[in-house]
Symmetry: C2
Subunit: 451 residues, 2 copies
């Protein structure tokens, strides 16, 4: 291992984006090469040292934050974009490349990497794959899983699997990449990835709609899916408290008309080839919704600045969170058709059981993903109460305690609400087979003996 790998234990290595801490690591290493990374893990494996694997540290489930005595392995120096193939539309990158850096680079060449999330400026593509990141365009483009052709990864014992598959079709043996994606760094450390790209989309429009109290969001979603089809690239619903809070924290930006106050809002993004086609699709969809009374007011973006201002409403999460820390945050997975009813029920239940709290519901309804924030100033006990209330309101096994953020440490007590005992047994068998001494992100996802 080269000397330059060992780095001072700065503040930033101690917590993830949610700010929670779990302990103080023994050291921080930043491998400069994949061979470095292999040597570091092999040595840790021999010593049975648990490693906290860190990408951009933008997670909120406590996965990357180190526990006492853990070795932090930070991927930030493995940040090369090795190749962008503008003919086949493939990028080969190291795991520590920042998502926005990749997006910018491929856009220069006429291509787009369609996975996009608010933390694009810090999160790393290796971490995006390890956590199967979702984001705002999943309704059209799917999760990170859909964009990874293959990964190269270092296992606990330093073995290197790969090279990353870069073929559209390859059925030679098990897809180890598919297993590693979403395993939250507990099975291997993703060092390189081959990613699919799509040609840049020429036209994009954003539409923000104020929904009448009678509007059925399920009907709206179905009509958007079947009417706008592939043009639909985002479909988000924000419930009234969230819209009001977002308008407050976004005062500096252009304010929304008063007609949006106290109503649910839907944010829709459409994209495609021809301006005329896209505008016609959008107009016909919007006209129908206004005629039947579902939509009482709407704003359509006329420029990318317009669009950014509308998205800023939806992306006010960080600012709202800042006003209610410590809070309980949720990324619930449940069928889209249940979101509206669940939000109403959960809100009433929280009001009854925790009358001192406010709750804010919003989310990627097009992706079966409902977010909620409950605050302000929760004690750990109150946070646990809020979690119990919301999770127990969801049917077990057919819903998810984490649609996109991952289990990490924070959701570990609730894994069995979303996965059957047989599933968890198999996961543990796989973990034991790949990381017998449990050195990779020990204590995340589920507990295992050190072995």
């Amino acid at each position: 291992m080269s000397r330059s790998d060992v780095t001072p234990i700065e503040e930033k290595y101690l917590h993830d984006w949610s700010g929670r801490r779990y302990g103080v690591p023994s050291a921080v290493v930043r491998p400069l090469t994949v061979e470095d990374l292999r040597a570091i893990l092999a040595e840790a494996n021999n010593a049975r040292t648990s490693c906290a694997i860190q990408g951009g540290r933008t997670g909120v489930s406590g996965g990357c934050a180190p526990g006492d005595g853990e070795l932090v392995v930070a991927l930030e120096s493995l940040n090369k974009i090795e190749e962008v193939d503008p003919v086949s539309g493939i990028a080969v990158v190291q795991g520590g490349v920042v998502l926005e850096t990749l997006q910018t680079e491929v856009e220069r060449l006429g291509w787009s990497f369609p996975v996009d999330l608010g933390s694009r400026g810090s999160c790393q593509v290796g971490g995006n794959a390890a956590t199967n990141a979702g984001g705002s365009r999943v309704v059209k483009y799917g999760n990170m899983r859909e964009w990874v052709l293959g990964v190269e990864a270092v296992l606990a014992n330093g073995a290197l699997i790969g090279p990353p598959n870069r073929l559209v079709k390859n059925n030679a043996g098990y897809s180890l990449s598919s297993l590693l994606i979403g395993s939250e760094g507990t099975l291997g450390v993703i060092s390189r990835l081959a990613l699919r790209l799509v040609p840049l989309v020429p036209v994009r429009r954003t539409l923000l709609m104020a929904l009448s109290p009678e509007a059925n969001v399920n009907v709206l979603l179905r009509e958007a899916k079947t009417g706008l089809r592939e043009a639909l690239s985002a479909f988000e619903i924000m419930w009234p408290d969230y819209v009001d809070a977002a308008m407050l924290v976004q005062q500096r930006a252009r304010p929304l008309p008063a007609s949006f106050t106290g109503l649910r809002a839907a944010l829709i993004e459409v994209e495609g080839d021809g301006e005329a086609t896209i505008d016609a699709l959008l107009e016909s969809f919007l006209t129908r919704q206004m005629e039947d009374g579902s939509v009482v007011d709407a704003i359509v973006s006329m420029s990318s600045q317009d669009a950014a201002a509308l998205w800023a409403i939806r992306e006010s999460v960080g600012e709202i969170q800042a006003t209610i820390r410590p809070y309980a945050g949720f990324d619930l997975g449940m069928p889209a058709k249940d979101h509206d009813e669940f939000a109403a029920k959960a809100k009433a239940l929280l009001l009854h059981e925790m009358p001192q709290c406010r709750s804010f519901f919003f989310g990627h309804i097009g992706d079966d993903n409902l977010h909620a924030l409950v605050g302000p100033c929760l004690t750990p006990e109150e946070r646990a109460t809020a979690e119990r209330l919301l999770f127990e309101l969801m049917p077990p096994l057919t819903t998810s305690v984490t649609a996109e953020h991952g289990i990490g440490r924070k959701r570990k007590p609730y894994l069995s609400m979303s996965r059957s005992p047989a599933d968890i047994t198999v996961m543990k068998n796989i973990k034991a087979a790949l990381d017998p001494h449990n050195i990779l992100n020990r204590g995340r996802v589920f507990d295992m003996p050190i072995g």
Copy 2:
């Protein structure tokens, strides 16, 4: 286990679609329920009996054909479409449902299941998932993997993993579904699946083009991808010998103009919302290609009958195979940009080394997937020679000895040409963790001790 499960050993259970046999099974059972299937596997596991798992038996890699003394477990009675949700666009089906049955049922409700292959009338969706089936629209829709939200599966010991995830986003624990997809029945038997659907596409056009000898298929593919974007749903190339053979075996159908003789042909499918938009896209693409001399003649489908006649040329594989049995068949995976050069080199090499043979190249170039048939009347030794010649012409590890058909038994000797020793070790560790007595499709993909 109910008595009705034990079925006579009919001819059809003895081989897969390629016709090869490996032995005579001890019995054939057809579970009528998932509980039946669990009991059958648990009993086989206790007795260390290897089970040959059979879906529609349309594979060509020898995966489903039983060896001597194996227990055939045929899924054909687990054939219920349990639910089609026309709001969220999801189907929940048992593993033994025939692909075409599913396609027809969801189309009736305005949706489409976009995975499509020539064997749609026999293959089963459980088998499609177990083998990560590809087909003809992968350039747009990806492989089966992209369309499975989750699976329920029975493990070797009878344990049931599931229920199948049906959420667009769910990051609660490892994706066991992703691991099972493409594992060729060696890790578990897929009993139920939740599948994504897409709204029916209103307009579809098929275009068959004769390419000039100077045309660069890579340029053509890049222009189709970036110019037609999401409208492009298939991009296939057939080399001259294949076109000529297809024209011969399809004499009863409408013959192609003589201008196609001796040239490579490209088959393109486009689809989308508006006839005018699609026709304009197609016309502008075709005009450009004719003006620069890449395309010398072209036929555009004006009806679904037209389209079927054009696809019949591409789907003449079965008829051509029938004229050259026994033959060596290939489904090579390599970057699209290498197909044209590889086809030329491979053809010349085969002509030199096996002058008594003819070779036919064709394939899903948009999916990095090149098919070849070499025949006629090959002895097993000649088949092995043809395999060696073609596989050794491909760079190791970055290409695939099986883009879509799977390893099965047939490609087992060549797995290490496409996967590294570390990868194969991990696969074997996973197999040992999930099926310690090696009862599921024993001897397929790789060899393992009985345990």
